[in-house]
Every structure is written in structure tokens, then in C-alpha cells.
């Protein structure tokens, strides 16, 4: 299966190749990814204005449908929607109908009946946004805000924006993703984005218990040894270690993980001197990264947070544009009959 023949491609792109939903980076080509980055670049300036709003989604209703808790992602999606002038509804699903036994399909039908235009979905199960995109009425855009272990495409794109800001390019870069790759939806999306945008090498650095099966076939070089993996790096992306996973006999202890894979000044010194340090957050200081590095001159972690709003504005406005184009085309086809 190549990215281009991904079954998701026709689901999330219009016939003209515009975004209709934003579910995964699979099947999206370099031109479209670059378009998202360029559009996001143009929105960064909005956040610097005294009145931080543009009217692109005025009159539209965006529903933040978070089946899994999140503070940072939900806040940045909410801010992004508000900066696009949308009406925003935040639904805490933990206290809503699904917890009373209502099926996801029925919950969606009710939300659609409220004339929503866009669902921003976070869900603990891989593929849930796909299911929702296939289930909803045409005209409603679905934005994936993280599903299971599968994808977190806006997080990956904000990471790409941050890399482009600091490095000015993707070609020739060596990038490593360190830590719990197995459970990371962020890592899967990052790997896909980095490869499509043309980096020279993507490395994954982790013990074998935290790597997905056949990860090499995703185009990554596997390193079990942090010192070897850090050599000549331009970008190092640390992942959050999901502490709850350690109970499944994946790691002996946090301390051992930090000793072998935690990023400190000494290990960072093995990389290129201009290497930037990234982390999708929230950070476990002293488990995956030491404070001196997280707060140090090579860290771009707070830039990632800022860029998150611009990327989400870009994706939401582009998906709504695709939905409108779809609607106009269908209307023209009906009129032609």
C-alpha cells in the first residue's frame, strides 16, 4: 500500500484535490502539505494583531468533540476556530450521552441535527475520525485531533512548521524521534510528514518494546542506542513516555528509561551543534528530557505551541473551503440535469 493509493485519500480529498476532511497525512502529497504550511504562515500574523480575528468561518459552527481528555490540543483548536470567527461548542463526552450508553452513530446524528459544520474529533480508538467522516452527512468537515495510536496530523504539521521556521528547509535534514513510538499517534504522523517533505533520514530511537512491528518498512532507521542515534542530528523530537504503559512490562523503570533514552546535555552534544529540540508535550521532566535541555537555547518547544494555532486555523479553513467547493460542484451538477 502506498500513500497515494490509501483508501482514505478519496475520503479526505475532493475531486479537485482539496481538503474535505483532515484525518491523516497518508495520501496527502508534498504540494498540499506545503500549502498547509504556507497558509499557516499567513495566519501567524493574525495572532500578533490587537484584534485576533479573521472572518473566514463566520456563521459556521465548530464542535470540539473530545472523547479523550486534552487541554492543550482542545484549547488551540478552540482558539483557532474563534480566530476564524466560528461559533464553537465544546462537548465533554465523558459526561454526555455516550457515557449513558448512546452509540457514537446516534450521538453524531444528534449533533448534525444541530446544524454543525465541523467536528474536531479526539478519540481513544484508531480510525474513529474515519468512521465519523464516513457516517456524517456530506458538508460536515471532520478534523482529526488525535485518534488512538493512529494519527495526530495537526500536531505533525505544526512540528513541520516549526522545523521549517528554524531550518528553512526539509531537504537533507536528519531527524530522530525518540521514545515511545509504539503508542504514539504523533510519531506516525511525523514520520509520514517528514518523508513526504523530503528529509534525508528519519531515525527512531527506542527499546524494541516501544517500537511498532516492521517500523523499518515505514522508512525509518532503527537505533536502539541513543549515542549512535544522536550523531549528526539536525532535529531531535522527544516523545512523551506514557507512564501507564510501563505496567505492561514494556520497560523495567522510568529511571532506566531516562538513563538510556532521556535527553540531557551530554547526549544532545553528540548531535549537530545547531540541532533543535522538540517535544509535543506534555513534558515529563527527568523522564524523557532534562529541564536544562527543555528550557535551553536549542529547545523550540514553546514555538510548537504557538504554531499549533496557526496550523489549526489553516487546516480548518482549508477543509471548510473544500466542503464548500464540493457543495458548489454538486449543486452545479444538479442544475445541469
Amino acid at each position: 500500500m502506498t500513500a497515494q493509493d490509501s483508501p482514505t485519500r478519496s475520503l479526505q480529498l475532493t475531486e479537485e484535490g482539496q481538503l474535505r476532511h483532515f484525518l491523516t497525512l497518508d495520501g496527502l502529497n508534498r504540494a498540499l502539505l506545503t500549502d498547509i504550511l504556507d497558509t499557516a504562515d499567513s495566519f501567524i500574523e493574525v495572532g500578533e494583531r490587537s484584534i485576533k480575528k479573521v472572518p473566514l468561518l463566520r456563521g459556521r459552527t465548530v464542535v470540539n468533540l473530545f472523547f479523550e481528555s486534552s487541554t492543550r490540543t482542545r484549547s488551540t483548536f478552540e482558539l483557532a476556530a474563534k480566530r476564524l470567527s466560528a461559533d464553537v461548542l465544546n462537548l465533554d463526552i465523558n459526561t454526555s450521552a455516550t457515557s449513558k450508553g448512546e452509540s457514537l452513530s446516534d450521538t453524531l446524528l444528534n449533533l448534525e441535527a444541530m446544524a454543525s459544520d465541523m467536528f474536531v474529533v479526539r478519540h481513544s480508538q484508531s480510525g474513529a475520525p474515519h468512521f465519523i467522516a464516513e457516517s456524517v452527512t456530506p458538508g460536515v468537515a471532520i478534523i482529526n485531533a488525535g485518534d488512538g495510536r493512529h494519527a495526530h496530523p495537526t500536531q505533525a504539521m505544526l512540528d513541520m512548521l516549526t522545523i521549517r521556521q528554524h531550518k528553512g528547509r526539509f531537504e537533507g535534514l536528519k531527524v530522530a524521534i525518540v521514545g515511545d513510538v509504539l503508542h504514539s499517534r504523533v510519531a506516525r504522523s511525523q514520520i509520514r510528514a517528514l518523508q513526504e517533505l523530503g528529509v534525508a533520514q528519519v531515525r527512531v530511537i527506542a527499546p524494541a518494546t516501544l517500537l511498532p512491528r516492521d517500523v523499518e518498512a515505514l522508512g525509518c532507521r532503527v537505533e536502539y542506542d541513543m549515542a549512535r542515534g544522536m550523531k549528526d542530528l539536525d532535529v531531535v523530537i522527544m516523545l512523551r513516555l506514557q507512564k501507564e504503559r510501563m505496567e505492561g512490562a514494556l520497560l523495567p523503570s522510568e529511571r532506566e528509561f531516562y538513563r538510556l533514552y532521556g535527553l540531557n546535555q551530554e547526549k544532545l552534544g553528540l548531535a549537530d551543534p545547531e540541532c533543535i529540540v522538540m517535544h509535543p508535550g506534555p513534558i515529563n521532566r527527568g523522564v524523557e528530557i532534562e529541564s536544562a535541555v527543555a528550557d535551553g537555547p536549542q529547545s523550540v518547544i514553546l514555538d510548537q505551541v504557538t504554531n499549533g494555532i496557526a496550523i489549526r486555523m489553516a487546516v480548518m479553513s482549508m477543509a471548510m473551503g473544500g466542503q464548500m467547493a464540493d457543495r458548489n460542484r454538486q449543486s452545479a451538477e444538479r442544475n445541469a440535469l
Binding site: T8, S126, F131, H150, D214
Partner: protein, 436 residues
């Protein structure tokens, strides 16, 4: 296919057809539910009813070693009447019914209930498989002799593994006491954990929880060793891995009494079918990689794998309307099994003879029966037109489960090869494309 009637001493004559295995043109005469003669291709002048089956092939009725009828219990997912009718539509005349019912078929009373309902409402022959452990819970031995006495043709634990090796060993030893065949789907539950997809590249890429091949192969090895020790007749159901086929072959070479089957969808699809999170392909064992698929086909071709099953598992639509991980595993397949097999024949991956053997003689021999076309044999027959095609849809399918493995809904309709024109069970027409 045309039918003519005439007052005569012979019940039925099928004329103009060819035997599916040899391509030999024959006239088949059926009397009192049995095959009276397999003769030269001439009209039978004595037949009360003559059916012209020109262009069609005649096979023994298909025998399914693994079919879920959902009765007693899950009426919203199917029942004996609906699923046996679906089976007749698919060319099946004998179904081995899974013990996974509600209540579980772990007592003679439940077996009797199944047989009673079958006698009244089933289109085809139903042979119950009894639960080898009480409630299928894998802890206490069931009343095996009682189940056998009530009519169970084998014992198994459905799709649920017996995780405790000591219990498994005792199950096998006790069943061996009575000469009963045991049927198990090999899966090490600890290794499969919460997985629902093949642990390979597709699962890695989509972030699906994987079931590694070793979850099956470790269980296969354990079962083979225990079968060798206890001497029980073991049937391994629903293999999915290349390595399992190798181990099966080795065990047979060592003289262990072991047989095996594979679900038809495992021969046609791989884990790539899950690439769009399509919950229909959420099956257990999971669809695996291409090398596994090819090894399974080779196993059928070489006769190492005795039988192809439908692994028919009908659901109501709600069971599949959820994100992939939250859906229930299983496909509704009994009506498309023949078409899937003919697709393999069209691709050159199986010969028609190998396909028919794995749907008839192979599974029949596992349960100590025969599925042959010869004078004196029960007239359990499937007459199908390999050159005709059909489209599965809510209108054309009989099963309650509409989650068949082909495009549906808004996707372009798919045309499947092979149409069952006539199914006879004990000489009685249980499916005819002209009247149904």
C-alpha cells in the same frame, strides 16, 4: 435451467450438467432422497421431474465445519431458519454449528433444542458441535459423553481459547476416552491480548492493536504436542499463518491424527483490507499478510489443509457501526464462499477440483462422513453455473448479516462469479434460483 414434470417412478433427473470435479457430462437420477444413478448424458424417460441444468456444474453439497447460526440466543443476528436458508443459497447442505450460542451448547438439552428447531425450520442438515468446557469458560469439562449421545459430532470451544494448558490436556484426554474429535481455534490469549488486527505493517501504520502470528503458532504447537500425547483426534480450526501450515505438515509426517481448516476469506484477502479502517474485515483470527495467504492456499492445494470453511458469523448492523476496535469480529460469508472460491480458481491459485474437494470431501472426512456423487449416496447436491454472476445485496442475500466482504453501500456494486442454481438436501430442493 428448465423443469419438466411427468408421472413416473423416478423422483428427479438432472440432465445436461457436468460433474464439477471431472467435467464429465452426466445425467443424475435421484430416488427417495438418494442418488439412484450417475449415468450417460441422456434424458431419463422414467423421471417424474426432469431438470435441465445445461451449462451448470454438479458438486456434492458443501460441508461447513464452522458456521454460527446464532440460535438459540442472538435472534437479532440470525437464526437457524435464516442462516440455513443462506447456506442453501450458498450451496451448503451440511453445517457444523458452533457451540457459541446463548445458552452455550454444553448440555444434551441444548443440543436437543438445536436439533429439534433444525428439524422444523432448517433448510439443510445441521450437525451441532458441543462445548468442550462448561459455558465455554475453559475451566471445567463439559458432559462430553452426554453431548455426543445427544448428537454432537465433535467438541470444541468455539472461538474462545482454553488458556489453561492443564485443562486443555484433560479436555483432550477425556474426549479421547470416547473417541471424540476435538476442534480448536488456536490462539494464545495472553499473546493476542487486546489485539484485533494482524501485527504487521498495516497495523503499525494505522495504529491498530496487533495480534502477532506467534499467538497462533504457539497455540498450534501446544495443541499438537498435547494431541500427540493424548492420542485424541484433533482438528485445528481457522488457521491464518504460514508457520501453522508448516507445523501441521510436520505433525502429520510424525503420524499425529490432526486435520485443519481455513476460512475462505483468509485465502482471498490480506490485512491490506483494513487500510481504510473497514470494520467488515475485522475478523478473528485477523487477516494476515500476503505470504501467509499464499501459504494457506498452498496448504489447501496440497491437501495439508483439509477443508475450507465459511466461518460465517452474522451480525446485526449495529455490531459493525462503530470505530474498528469497538466493532465485533466476523463476516457474513456463507452465501459468497463459493464465489470467493471461484475467484481463486479464476486467478489460477486453486483448481476447481481442489476447491470442490476442500468444500466437500475434505470437511466431510473430518467428521467421519462422505460427500460424494455415487449411487446410494444421499442426494446432497449443489448445482452451480460458473459462468453466471450475481451481486450480493440486501435484496439477494438471505442471511440476517449483511456485512459480506465486498463493496456495498455507496460503492459501485461488485459482480461475483458463480450462481447456485439448485441445492438439494436429501433429494429435496432447498434452493432454486428459479423460484427464490
Amino acid at each position: 435451467m428448465s423443469v419438466t414434470s411427468k408421472q413416473s417412478s423416478t423422483d428427479l433427473a438432472l440432465v445436461g450438467g457436468r460433474l464439477a470435479t471431472t467435467d464429465e457430462a452426466v445425467t443424475l437420477v435421484i430416488r427417495d432422497g438418494r442418488i439412484a444413478s450417475v449415468g450417460r448424458p441422456e434424458p431419463d424417460q422414467q423421471a417424474k421431474q426432469t431438470v435441465d441444468i445445461s451449462g451448470c456444474l454438479i458438486s456434492p453439497g458443501f460441508v461447513d465445519l464452522c458456521c454460527n447460526l446464532r440460535e438459540p440466543g442472538n435472534g437479532q443476528k440470525g437464526n437457524i431458519a435464516s442462516e440455513s436458508r443462506a447456506a442453501a443459497h450458498g450451496g451448503f447442505t451440511t453445517l457444523c454449528a458452533s457451540p457459541e450460542t446463548s445458552p452455550v451448547n454444553d448440555s444434551g438439552a441444548v443440543t436437543n433444542l438445536i436439533l429439534d428447531v433444525s428439524a422444523k425450520r432448517s433448510s439443510v442438515r445441521i450437525l451441532p458441535i458441543g462445548a468442550i468446557t462448561r459455558g465455554l469458560e475453559g475451566e471445567l469439562l463439559s458432559d462430553m459423553a452426554g453431548l455426543s449421545g445427544a448428537g454432537c459430532i465433535a467438541l470444541g470451544n468455539g472461538s474462545r481459547p482454553v488458556s489453561n494448558a492443564r485443562v486443555l490436556r484433560r479436555c483432550m484426554a477425556y474426549a479421547q476416552t470416547f473417541g471424540l474429535t476435538v476442534m480448536f481455534s488456536p490462539e494464545n490469549r495472553a499473546l493476542a491480548a487486546d489485539g484485533y488486527a494482524h501485527d504487521g505493517l498495516v497495523a503499525s501504520r494505522l495504529g491498530l492493536l496487533g495480534i502477532p502470528e506467534v499467538a497462533e503458532t504457539a497455540a498450534v504447537m501446544e495443541m499438537l504436542l498435547l494431541a500427540e500425547e493424548t492420542g485424541v483426534r484433533l482438528h485445528l480450526s481457522q488457521l491464518s499463518c504460514a508457520r501453522s501450515v508448516d507445523m501441521l505438515n510436520d505433525a502429520r509426517q510424525r503420524g499425529i491424527a490432526v486435520t485443519a481448516d481455513v476460512a475462505m476469506h483468509q485465502l482471498l484477502f490480506t490485512d491490506l483490507a483494513l487500510a481504510g479502517f473497514d470494520s467488515r474485515y475485522h475478523v478473528r483470527p485477523p487477516l494476515r499478510g500476503e505470504s501467509d495467504r499464499l501459504a494457506l492456499i498452498a496448504g489447501v492445494r496440497d491437501g495439508v489443509i483439509d477443508a475450507i470453511t465459511s466461518q460465517h458469523l452474522p451480525h446485526d448492523s449495529a455490531a459493525k457501526q462503530a470505530p474498528l476496535a469497538a466493532t465485533e469480529p466476523g463476516l457474513s460469508t456463507i452465501e459468497t464462499t463459493l464465489s470467493m472460491g471461484l475467484m481463486l480458481v479464476e486467478r489460477g491459485e486453486l483448481s476447481r477440483q481442489q476447491l470442490c474437494r476442500a468444500l466437500t470431501e475434505g470437511p466431510a472426512s473430518v467428521i467421519g462422513r462422505h460427500a460424494v456423487i455415487e449411487p446410494g449416496a444421499p442426494a446432497d447436491l449443489c448445482v452451480f453455473d460458473p459462468g453466471a454472476s450475481w451481486t450480493p445485496s440486501a435484496r439477494t442475500l438471505c442471511s440476517v448479516g449483511l456485512h459480506h466482504p465486498f463493496p456495498s453501500g455507496s460503492a459501485p456494486a461488485v459482480s461475483l462469479p458463480g450462481v447456485v442454481r439448485l441445492t438439494l438436501c436429501n433429494g429435496e430442493s432447498v434452493w432454486s434460483s428459479e423460484t427464490d
